[in-house]
Amino acid sequence: MIQILTTYGGLLLTAMGQTLLLALCGLFFACILGLIFGLLSVVKNRACNIISIIFVDAIRGVPMIVLAYFIYFGIPYLLNTIMGFGGVTLSALQAGTICLALNCGAYMAEIIRAGIESVDKGQMEAARSLGLPYWRAMFRVVLPQAIRTMIPSIINQFIITLKDTSILSVIGFPELVNTAKNVVANSFMSFQVWAIVAVMYLIVITILSVLAKQMERRLNRGRE
């Protein structure tokens, strides 16, 4: 165990860094996508609602590993070979980010929709009766209340997405699982390596959960 740590510890830590980088990139764009599609699903416009439903259902209906292969191999093939653009390449980080953003974004859209719908209709009406335009009322009055109820689900989704980065080992991104596979191939000590990897995930996710709890408490301070 000690030997593994001294020999491969640095490598695994770097890989954890890559995992976090990928998760952060994915989450950043997932939040944007989630907000856009979440809002599209609550506005009073049939076309917008349908666009949002199609996006969410399409993404939720495809396993992430298929999405990853599709984006990393399928899209460049489509552009280069079928459509003849040539020279289009996607790095594993780019493809992984897109993949996580789409996947997590779809779930975020659902969380945001449910959060907005949980806010009393009277809030929007009170804001509108004061002459606030729809989007002002949404961003100044409704969303801040929605976000408070959404925080536990959002954090939960962040943790799921962090774990989902391991799926992107299949497109060769040097995140933790991919790196660990190589370490096992070199050292043959699968028990030790996978135990270390499991503990590394556990530590990071526990730290995130604790931070999240604290944030939640701060946001709720002084309110019922």
Binding site: A126, R128, R223
Partner: protein, 260 residues
């Protein structure tokens, strides 16, 4: 000329007609009380006046300007309606204060956002915001809430919350202030403090439409009463006359249920 002219307002939800041919006028400085049993369409009427609901027929005219007419598509665009809402203030049965803002912020919010549209906003931002805050504090003081400006809604009693809501509705100086059963969600002890505020507003000649179940209050404070039943105006007239000597049989039956 009347400040408010409501003519032939009709509204259906699906196949049920909730309002039918509602017409009445309101002079500046007058208070009109709307009474009627549950489901008679009182809330729907107020919502149509505030454009939270779009009526199917009729027109709404304030100060000679036709704000909304079922026959004139130009009066119905969302952009046009936004500004028109400012003619009316609305106080809800369950207050609908914004929980994430303090009492003061609740009162200031709309005015602050509206001020951003002023051409001189950037230049005189400080003065404008100070003015708005002073105005909001003044309104809270009028409601007897000077010492509650920094409190969040959940730190206030129902009566205090409703008084903040009234201050908030007054902030944009609406021509007509509408109340939808402002005391129905309050304990009897707290009803009095809100009714007192309404009496003060009436004494100061605030133009008001008050939906209420407080018959004694309506008789004493309102200039006129409008009795609705089944989506139509059954009877309207001077408050004391309608309460003490109702002409219509249905009005009599309704008032009898209140022990009058």
């Amino acid at each position: 000329m009347a400040l408010l002219e409501v003519a032939g307002i009709g509204k259906s939800f699906g196949s049920t007609a909730v309002l039918r041919d509602i017409s009445f006028t309101l002079n500046e400085g007058e208070a009109i009380a709307i009474i009627g049993s549950s489901g008679s369409g009182k809330t729907t009427l107020l919502r149509c006046l505030n454009f939270l609901e779009t009526a199917d027929t009729g027109s709404i005219t304030v100060g000679g300007e036709t704000l909304w007419s079922a026959d004139d598509i130009h009066t119905q665009s969302e952009a046009a309606i936004r500004k028109k809402r400012l003619h009316f203030g609305l106080v809800f049965q369950n207050f609908n204060l914004f929980p994430q803002y303090t009492a003061l912020q609740n009162v200031m919010l709309a005015e602050q956002l509206l001020a951003k549209e002023r051409p001189d906003y950037k230049q005189h931002k400080k003065e404008i915001l100070a003015e708005i805050e002073a105005h909001a504090r003044e309104l809270l003081a009028d409601m007897g809430l000077s010492d509650r400006a920094g409190h969040y809604p959940h730190q206030l009693s129902g009566g205090q919350q409703q008084r903040v809501a009234i201050a908030r509705a007054l902030a944009l100086k609406p021509d007509i202030l509408c109340f939808d059963e402002p005391t129905s969600a309050l304990d009897p002890e707290l009803t009095g403090e809100v009714l007192r505020v309404l009496r003060d507003l009436a004494a100061n000649k605030t133009t008001m439409i008050i939906v209420t179940h407080e018959m004694k209050f309506a008789r004493d404070v309102a200039d006129r009463i409008l009795f609705m039943d089944g989506g139509v105006v059954v009877e309207q007239g001077p408050a004391k006359e309608v309460i003490d000597h109702p002409k219509e049989e249905r009005t009599r039956q309704f008032l009898a249920s209140y022990g009058k």
